[in-house]
């Protein structure tokens, strides 16, 4: 579903992502882990179309990603951001946030779709006309997930989706993400530094260091704490 071939990204002289090749099958769940500055978010941004000066090939399903604005991309993948306090418009109600993508893409049945998606992410319908500041962190992250689901994209890009949440709320959101993936056959591309979250949610992972893909591993390797690269094992030892 997601196919990266020799992907490189540079800002001026500094190259941030160096020749990354990886493949995520349809319905798969892949995690990219690494320290800050390793380039993991940059790869995510390139797939999401926020960065355009990449070289190599990015392929989503049958669609080759274009440099620059790419309308087809929006229906293919949507992103959930790290901080639910910063990623929702503070003066728009949940209803407006969720129906906006439908209006832009000229999709009918807005009322029905908004209610369906609210149900899907486990938000009570009474929240529909609230503003973000009236919601808790976990509820906001549910709204952000609902917004990403509105256009029914097959691919979800998740940028540290639970690191701003309390542990008990994190469990709720992780359960939700797992359920949604099973019900809708979504493909997840997750960026995180939290290895236990990877163990719960993903099938495969890639370890990134200073823009280079050090290792591609299965989640079983993570569970048994048996990475083949030294750096992978170093990351494991730093994880609590």
């Amino acid at each position: 579903m997601i196919d990266l071939k020799h992907l490189s990204i540079a800002y001026g002289e500094t190259s941030v992502v160096k020749d990354v090749t990886l493949h995520v099958p349809e319905g798969g769940s892949f995690a990219l882990v690494g320290e800050s500055g390793s380039g993991k978010s940059t790869i995510l941004k390139a797939i999401a179309g926020q960065i355009t000066n990449w070289t190599g090939r990015i392929r989503l399903g049958e669609h080759d990603l274009q440099h620059g604005r790419d309308p087809a991309l929006i229906r293919l993948c949507q992103m959930v951001f790290q901080d639910p306090f910063g990623s929702l418009h503070p003066r728009k109600t949940v209803d407006t946030i969720l129906s906006e993508p439908l209006s832009i893409h000229g999709i009918r049945d807005q009322n029905k779709r908004v209610l369906e998606t609210l149900d899907a992410v486990g938000l009570a319908r009474k929240f529909r006309f609230r503003l973000p500041h009236q919601l808790s962190g976990g509820q906001r992250q549910r709204v952000a997930i609902a917004r990403a689901l509105m256009l029914d994209p097959p691919v979800m890009l998740l940028d540290e989706p639970t690191s701003a949440l309390d542990v008990s709320v994190q469990a709720e959101v992780l359960n939700l993400l797992k359920t949604l993936r099973e019900e809708r056959g979504l493909t997840y591309f997750l960026v995180t530094h939290d290895l236990p979250v990877v163990s719960f949610l993903c099938d495969n992972l890639g370890i990134l260091r200073q823009g280079e893909l050090v290792e591609l591993a299965t989640v079983d390797q993570l569970k048994q704490q048996r990475f083949s690269s030294d750096y992978g094992n170093e990351l494991l030892s730093k994880s609590f």
């Binding site: 309390d166 542990v167 008990s168 994190q170 469990a171 530094h193 979250v197 163990s199 569970k223 609590f240």
Partner: protein
């Protein structure tokens, strides 16, 4: 003898429907040890830390039957004597170096400010002490860092600078409020190791306030778990896995582990806990 004694501490803020109590009568003692206070957002853990330093301003109100630091009654101490205490004998490391350092002041001068306020050292001695303290937090090139501005250093280094500022006068008590949550995982361990090292070397008391159970279990001797303004569990860090209270058990269970085989994570049932 214990360093800090707190009995029946209450913190409240006025709300639309009367006062809201955010800390509801907690008591604990601290010796020269490492104590961890854990809880989720809104549990009152940060308010507990701030009230020890008397940093809660109006309209908040703090009451306690007893709040003593090394024989001094913190409730009745004058503001002037309290100021002499803060920074010199007890200090606080804040969460995020980006917002806690003065952006328009060189790092060395910022650290030296503590010395000029609390000691009678001259400029040359101050500079020497600052360089030593930067070295103590494992900054390899203190001369260069002395002249930098906060935006020129990384998050991990910023946090180490804050710690240097807090330990330069070798306080008896250090309160660290989420000292690592703004930092990258790879740097977290390093910052905690430095704090740990300073605590063992100088024998100060340390309170780490955090939401991260695993981190606290690893770096503290004793743990208090707060929920809804109350201490619901108090145990040795090594005994955390055998926690008795349903809230602590719930928190522990809801965390994914490296070797995760559960299909769904158990979720805390707040209605059962009688909380918010």
């Amino acid at each position: 003898m214990s360093l800090l004694t707190i009995e029946n501490l209450r913190v409240s803020f006025p709300g639309e429907q009367g006062a809201v109590e955010v800390v509801k009568g907690i008591s604990f003692e601290l010796g020269r040890e490492r104590l961890g206070i854990v809880g989720e957002s809104g549990s009152g853990k940060s308010m507990t830390g701030r009230s020890i330093l008397r940093l809660i301003d109006k309209p908040g109100s703090v009451t306690a039957d007893r709040m003593e630091f090394d024989g001094l009654d913190l409730m009745t101490l004058s503001n002037r004597r309290m100021r002499a205490l803060r920074g010199a004998r007890m200090s606080m490391v804040m969460q995020d170096p980006k917002f806690s350092l003065n952006p328009v002041m060189r790092i060395g001068d910022q650290i030296a400010e503590v010395l000029s306020f609390h000691s009678k050292l001259n400029a040359r001695e101050r500079r020497k002490r600052v360089l030593e303290s930067l070295e103590a937090v494992r900054i390899t090139d203190p001369e260069r860092v002395y002249k930098l501005y906060p935006h020129e250093v990384s998050g991990g280094m910023g946090q180490r600078i804050m710690i240097a500022m807090m330990v330069i006068l070798e306080p008896d008590l250090m309160i660290a409020d989420e000292p690592t949550s703004a930092l990258d995982v790879s740097v977290q361990a390093q910052v905690l190791d430095i704090m740990d090292d300073l605590v063992t070397r100088t024998g100060m008391g340390l309170i780490i306030i955090s939401h991260d159970l695993n981190m606290v279990a690893r770096y503290c001797d004793r743990i208090l778990v707060m929920f809804n303004g109350e201490i619901v569990e108090s145990c040795q860090a090594s005994e955390l896995a055998n926690a008795q209270h349903p809230y602590t058990q719930g928190l522990l269970a809801s965390m994914p582990t490296l070797d995760e085989h559960r299909d769904r994570l158990p979720v805390l049932d707040r209605t059962q806990l009688g909380g918010v």
